[in-house]
């Protein structure tokens, strides 16, 4: 049976294509995927791949000739019938037989024109000459085939290409490497692949956490799609953030309360502290916030708590985490026993803590033991935002920028420095009123900041 090979549409704007070179001769056996010809389009020279197998029976468009997209360029015979090797052309035009160039020829000789006859085909800036243009070379590219993007299951003893490090990591984490896509040479699984897999895969189903009646979802492996754009593999930190944030959003019923805080007094107090030569540390609004939250947590212990399987775990210590941004990530260094620290202690210890964390040299418990988190985006012109609870904590405070806004005082519109704060709470252990009262306490403390000093 004869199959028509037509000129493919190789670009969006392509209307016709020119056969630059046939890589197969009439009579040649063609396998699916063989490169049979090189085609010149409006955009570039492309290789043309066979989508069917058979014997090349007839070539209808010669090298150097053009044909519209969809036009028949050759005939493929599935069974070899109709192959006319060596016969004279049966049609008056377009049949090229027994192409003299063997298909394995690598290069067509390059014809460089001597400089004297250099053509000047392009628009030129004045005062410049053109170099001779060498004819474009036609060469078969011996590039490795694109790598395989994924692996089939390994169950039947199929060899999985994976680096030794990956095999060791897979063993440790009980991962079936058949589930992991490889991005190394020939689809070899390398470290970044398994790290990405670990970050993406749901945590090992734990018997205590799984909710009743809900089927445990099977691990989903998304094939790596590489259609344009670039894929950035996660760093360890990014992978951890991705997993923890998704877990929190999935498991914790969040609700949010927002209020506006008049920071005019705090602004004045901070200016005064800055001007004082008795204050060594730079006291920032974050430190005011830590102090206010610490006092409010003492008064509202339900906010300083974690959800436990069968109850609410009230924490003995008040340890406040401060979200610190890093290049493509964040960390939350924790200031311990905040309720026992003065505002100036908070400032000096807080600054040292953040510095240690940023420089990648956190000390012992710098990154652990937090009971509440503050995320302050006041350095950017952010009005307000909501934050995701840092499990197993029960709440997180999201702080917007301090800005001059019109407020009403005693029936008069005046300009004040205010900021918006939004508390995210875990609804399993907190209700709207509890969180609202806590936030009101924080607001009051910040609006009369002298109280934070005593």
């Amino acid at each position: 049976m004869a199959i028509e090979i037509v000129m493919p549409k190789l670009s969006d704007t392509m209307e016709e294509g020119k056969i630059l070179k046939w890589l197969k001769n009439v009579g040649d056996k063609i396998e699916m995927g063989d490169i049979i010809a090189e085609v010149e389009t409006d955009k570039a020279d492309m290789e043309m791949e066979a989508l069917d197998a058979g014997i090349l029976a007839e070539i209808r468009v010669r090298e150097g000739e053009s044909i519209a997209v969809g036009g028949v360029i050759a005939i493929l015979s599935e069974d070899g019938v109709g192959v006319t090797v060596g016969a004279s052309p049966s049609k008056s035009e377009g049949v090229k037989l027994a192409v003299s160039v063997p298909p394995s020829v690598v290069e067509v000789e390059e014809k460089e024109k001597p400089i004297a006859e250099a053509p000047m085909p392009l628009p030129q800036a004045s005062g410049v000459q053109a170099l001779p243009i060498p004819e474009r070379k036609v060469r078969e590219l011996r590039e490795p085939r694109p790598r395989r993007e994924s692996h089939e299951a390994t169950g039947d003893g199929e060899r999985v290409l994976a680096s030794p490090l990956v095999k060791r990591m897979a063993e440790e984490h009980h991962i079936d490497l058949g589930q992991v896509s490889g991005s190394g040479p020939n689809g070899r699984i390398i470290k970044q692949d398994i790290e990405a897999y670990l970050a993406k895969a749901p945590a090992q189903p734990s018997s205590t956490r799984a909710s009743v009646g809900e089927p445990t979802p099977a691990p989903v492996v998304t094939p790596m799609v590489t259609s344009g754009g670039t894929k950035q593999t996660f760093s360890r930190m990014r992978a951890t953030i991705a997993k923890r944030m998704a877990d929190s959003m999935r498991e914790v019923p969040h609700f949010y309360v927002t209020c506006e805080v008049d920071m005019s007094e705090a602004v004045r107090l901070r200016t005064a502290l800055k001007a004082s030569d008795r204050v060594q540390s730079d006291v920032t609004y974050t430190h005011f916030l830590i102090k206010a939250v610490a006092i409010a947590l003492e008064r509202h212990p339900r906010l300083n708590a974690a959800f436990a399987e069968d109850g609410r775990e009230l924490k003995a210590e008040i340890n406040i985490g401060i979200a610190v941004s890093l290049e493509d990530g964040l960390i939350v260094p924790v200031l311990h026993h905040c309720n026992k620290l003065s505002l100036l202690d908070i400032a000096s210890q807080g600054n040292a803590l953040v510095e240690r964390a940023r420089s990648g040299k956190p000390a012992g418990d710098d990154l652990s033991g937090g009971t509440f988190t503050i995320s302050n985006m006041g350095m950017l012109p952010i009005e307000h935002f909501t934050a995701i609870i840092n499990q197993p904590q029960g709440a997180i405070l999201a702080v917007g920028a301090i800005k001059e806004r019109p407020v009403v005082r005693n029936g008069q519109v005046v300009i004040a420095h205010t900021m918006m704060v939004t508390l995210s709470s875990d609804h399993r252990i907190l209700d709207g009123v509890t969180s609202g009262q806590f936030l009101t306490e924080v607001k009051k403390l910040l609006e009369n900041p002298v109280g934070l000093m005593v």
Partner: protein, 473 residues
């Protein structure tokens, strides 16, 4: 039917114009030609760049002479007595030039063989798709191109007051052709170049002082390695002054007096030559970067992981885009840039896979993370160390100073870095380069049988030591 692009956009005369034919540019050009791109290389000096003409290659030729002389002098240690050994220094320099010439011709041949046109002149950007080549005494050439690759490299940095005169004050460039061997030389800068020249001149019998403002020779290199090198240098009679700054200079006929500052105190040294080896500066001026709006960072061209500049048709590789300033890094970046242009590469460069070598004796070689860097990244680090004084081969060869230090992730045995000092270090590091590329763990290093007696056994022993089961030490 399915199509794959094999050649670029037809709107331009060329697919790629490379500015600079050094180890980055010429390798990139050949790779581009292999990928079917019509490629031109513009070079104002000689093919091969600094590496081949004024850096790596001629310096290694001189180094070979220095090592041979040192071995001959120490012949008695090995039971070989030789008399009347002397140095023909002009010949040493002449030989190094011949080596460079031979390789430069080789590069020209390779370009020709790959049908890459080499154009003599100075290239500059005129638009994101146009390079103008200024040729002295001729009409400038205009090259219209789909892509441009800037591979102009770097040149020696000097210090104010240390103006190079080619006689008394030299940079590595002048030192490589100076046929007059210095009697006393003061080297300002204890980086790779400074250390290599310090060794060479000391081996030839010059009195050498090397001055470094940081706490150690080879700043940035593993501290233990740097300390070992300092020890070895001092043993050779080289005066090593760390935490010391160049302060000023006074020239006299036949000698210079250099004032140095250490800890607030000024001391002086007299020498007949000064070598300035205080780093290199990128050659990013006069390239028309401002015409197409390409961003710089302290003179280095800013690039993304694919070596693309802020103008997407223009790429920059090698020294001109910043550290590491290494020939093999430039080559790898060149290949990555060209493959990205051709749509054949998604991954950028992993600089932690690029080894760095210093060719003094003992040699220094390293790849990957240092111990401090690994700890800062949060790894639980295990160190595996093996000294060459416990290596049979090293002792038999009479060069048993130095060690192999492996930095390993304790959790999975991943090899994070390796730091070697000792004879043969620069060849030994290749094994760890391969191990890191294959993501081998210490288990593969210890599971690989290393022939006895070889220096490479030291790598295996260091891996055993990291696993806490060293055998020969």
């Amino acid at each position: 039917m399915n199509g794959k692009m094999i050649r670029g956009d037809k709107a331009y005369q060329y697919d790629l114009v490379v500015i600079g034919a050094g180890p980055g540019g010429y390798v990139a050009a050949i790779r581009a030609a292999q990928l079917g791109m019509t490629t031109v290389v513009v070079e104002k000096d000689r093919a091969g760049g600094v590496c081949l003409n004024w850096g790596c290659i001629p310096s290694k030729a001189i180094l070979t002479s220095a090592e041979l002389y040192e071995d001959l002098k120490e012949g008695e240690r090995y039971g070989i007595r030789a008399q009347g050994i002397s140095i023909d220094f002009p010949h040493v320099i002449r030989r190094s030039r011949e080596v460079a010439d031979r390789l430069a011709k080789g590069v020209e041949f390779l370009l020709r063989k790959n049908k890459v046109q080499l154009v003599a002149g100075t290239g500059r950007l005129d638009s994101p798709h146009r390079v103008i080549v200024d040729v002295p005494g001729k009409t400038p050439l205009q090259l219209d191109t789909a892509h441009v690759l800037i591979a102009t490299g770097s040149k020696e940095r000097t210090l104010p007051g240390l103006e190079v005169d080619g006689k008394q004050i030299l940079t590595s460039y002048e030192a490589l052709v100076d046929t007059e061997m210095p009697r006393d030389i003061l080297i300002v800068g204890g980086g790779a170049i400074g250390c290599e020249f310090a060794y060479v001149y000391s081996a030839f019998g010059s009195r050498v002082t090397i001055v470094e403002m940081e706490k150690q020779l080879l700043p940035g290199v593993d501290t233990e390695v740097a300390q070992e090198l300092e020890k070895a240098f001092k043993k050779k009679g080289i005066e090593v002054l760390t935490e010391t700054k160049y302060h000023g200079i006074e020239k006299f006929p036949g000698r210079v007096e250099v004032a140095l500052e250490y800890n607030g105190d000024i001391k002086t040294r007299t020498a007949n030559k000064v070598l300035v080896a205080v780093g290199r500066v990128p050659l990013s001026a006069d390239l028309g970067l401002e015409v197409v709006g390409i961003a710089l960072n302290r003179g280095f061209i800013k690039v993304n992981e694919h070596m693309q500049t802020s103008c997407e048709t223009v790429y920059a590789i090698g020294d001109v885009n910043g550290p590491p300033l290494l020939a093999h890094a430039a080559s790898e970046e060149g290949i990555a840039a060209v493959e990205h242009m051709a749509g054949k590469r998604e991954k950028g460069i992993d600089h932690l896979k690029i080894p760095a070598c210093v060719y003094c004796q003992p040699e220094v070689a390293m790849v990957g993370l240092t111990e401090e860097q690994a700890k800062a990244k949060g790894y639980t680090v295990a160190i595996g160390k093996f000294p060459f004084m416990a290596s049979g081969k090293a002792i038999a060869k009479g060069h048993d100073e130095g060690f192999v230090k492996l930095v390993v992730d304790k959790e999975y045995g991943e090899i994070l870095g390796c730091h070697i000092i000792g004879h043969g270090a620069t060849d030994l590091i290749a094994e760890i380069g391969l191990a890191r590329t294959l993501e081998a763990t210490t288990a593969e290093l210890t599971g690989t049988v290393h022939a006895h007696p070889t220096l490479s056994e030291a790598i295996m022993e260091a891996a055993l030591s990291a696993e806490g089961r060293g055998i020969n030490f």
